[in-house]
Amino acid sequence: MRTYFAVFRMRFIAAFQYRIVAFSSMTTSLVWGFMSILAYAAFYRVNPDAFPMTFPQTVSYVWINQTFLLWFAVVFTDGDIESTLESGSIAYELARPADLYWRWFTRACAGRVAMSVLRLPALAAAFLLPGILKMTLPPDLIRLLLFVLSMVLALFVTVSFTMLMYVTMFHTISFRGIRLTVTAVTTFLSGGLIPLPFFPASIRGIVEALPFAAMQNIPLRIYNGNITGIDVIYGIGFQVFWLVTLIILGKLAMGYSLRKVVAQGG
């Protein structure tokens, strides 16, 4: 456990070196959120009752989605682990004593947490914005706590899916293609582009059963009150189910792949 804590701390400190990057990504997320909300506002003006979420709910959804963009990113562009695979230093990684799966898992979590912490001021700013742009608090403290729990689970589900992606990278060198494809599919099916309740009913049933629905979909909707009562417990249970499944799959796949891994270069 101490080993993993050290790995986490090291990645965390490394990510904090890029404060200017963080500042500019904060500006980006504010502008992006601003534009998205204005677009939603135009849609809601047409007929506010046609949508599955109320307008303030959508506003909260957009802001958390924007500020925690990297928290929920299956493909995280720090490129650290990928470059290990690309340069062949995977050979060293394998020589180290701690379990590779959990070490990478910890490292992937740390990078996401650090970058998200750096972006938190943008979320704070969203509470101070005027008019329709203003972000609102959840109705009570219990909901806030459930939101935090669900956020942590969402991070783990996201990273456990990322681990599966890394395993496929053992077998191919087309990293860029894999990254693009995985980003497109996961962002869309997890509700990163538009919230899952906005999907047409016919495909919504399928999409909400996929592991991607256990990522940002659940915590964001717990926060904004789109999921209430007993459904919150179901949602969290759904996240736990996919987390366990993905970790087991990832461990198995990695164990299998490591037996035949090719170290690129020398």
Binding site: W32, L38, A50, I178, L180, A184, V185, T187
Partner: protein
């Protein structure tokens, strides 16, 4: 122009070395462009029109925007690697050659993988053009061409500005993505839906609306003044400050040595 085609051919050869990788990248681009399209589709499955624009009119706007963006990305992907060129000294080699330095930077890399987005835009455009309810007379066709061509030039200018920032700083250039990628992503809807303030900014400061909103009004027949048709051409004035900014940066350039 001949020189540019030569650059193209060389790039194509080198990228085709890894065929599987190449097609996977194109596929990924294609897919990500399509998720954006589904976003629009799903919103319009809930309501019929936004700000008076119907689904097919919005698609026309989305397709031309995305087409303009992908052409710009295809042609000027060299700008994206510019900061790397400064860092490793390749730019010094460019400066001593007898060709415009902007041209050489631009042509240094032609990222054919961007064809994925282009392909997707072509498909949407092919659907939107007959279904938009526009009667395609010659002036409408000309307007659409102007939107796409001038649009890609203006996007290229934005990429040039982004590259020029590398003369001054190496980090935190991400904020320019708001204008480039953001312009493409939020430009899937006519800019007027974002309100007057945004529209004014995108008309007079960063002229994205000049090749999107105004000519679109002409296309769908809401405005019949010929000025609306020609607004993309006014947008080309944006080339002046962009090139000037590059020259200004170039004037302050000191080689990194090596």
């Amino acid at each position: 122009m001949k020189l540019y085609l030569k650059y193209c051919a060389i790039n194509m050869k080198s990228q085709m070395q890894y065929k599987f990788s190449f097609f996977l990248v194109i596929f990924g681009q294609f897919l990500s462009a399509f998720t954006m399209f589904f976003g629009v589709l799903f919103m319009f499955s809930i309501i019929n029109a936004v700000d008076g624009f119907t689904y097919s009119q919005v698609l026309l706007c989305y397709a031309s925007m995305s087409m303009a963006f992908s052409l710009a990305e295809l042609v000027s992907s060299g700008f994206a690697t510019f900061s790397g060129m400064l860092a490793n000294g390749t730019f010094d080699r460019i400066l001593v050659r007898p060709q415009s330095s902007i041209f050489q930077v631009m042509a240094s890399r032609i990222d054919l993988a961007r064809l994925g987005i282009t392909a997707q835009s072509v498909i949407i455009l092919c659907w939107a053009v007959p279904n938009s309810g526009v009667s395609w007379t010659w002036d409408k066709i000309l307007t659409l061409c102007l939107m796409i061509i001038c649009g890609s030039i203006i996007f290229s200018c934005l990429f040039l500005i982004q590259a020029s920032f590398a003369f001054f700083t190496t980090e935190g250039l991400e904020f320019m993505n708001v204008l480039t990628y953001g312009g493409r992503e939020h430009g899937r809807y006519p800019f007027s839906i974002y309100g007057k303030g945004v529209l004014r900014f995108l008309t007079f400061v960063i002229p994205l609306a000049l090749f999107q909103y105004y000519p679109l009004l002409y296309l769908i027949g809401r405005e019949s003044s010929v000025y609306y048709m020609l607004t993309p051409l006014f947008g080309l004035l944006f080339m002046i400050p962009s090139c000037a900014f590059f020259r200004f940066g170039l004037g302050r350039y000191r080689s990194t040595g090596s």
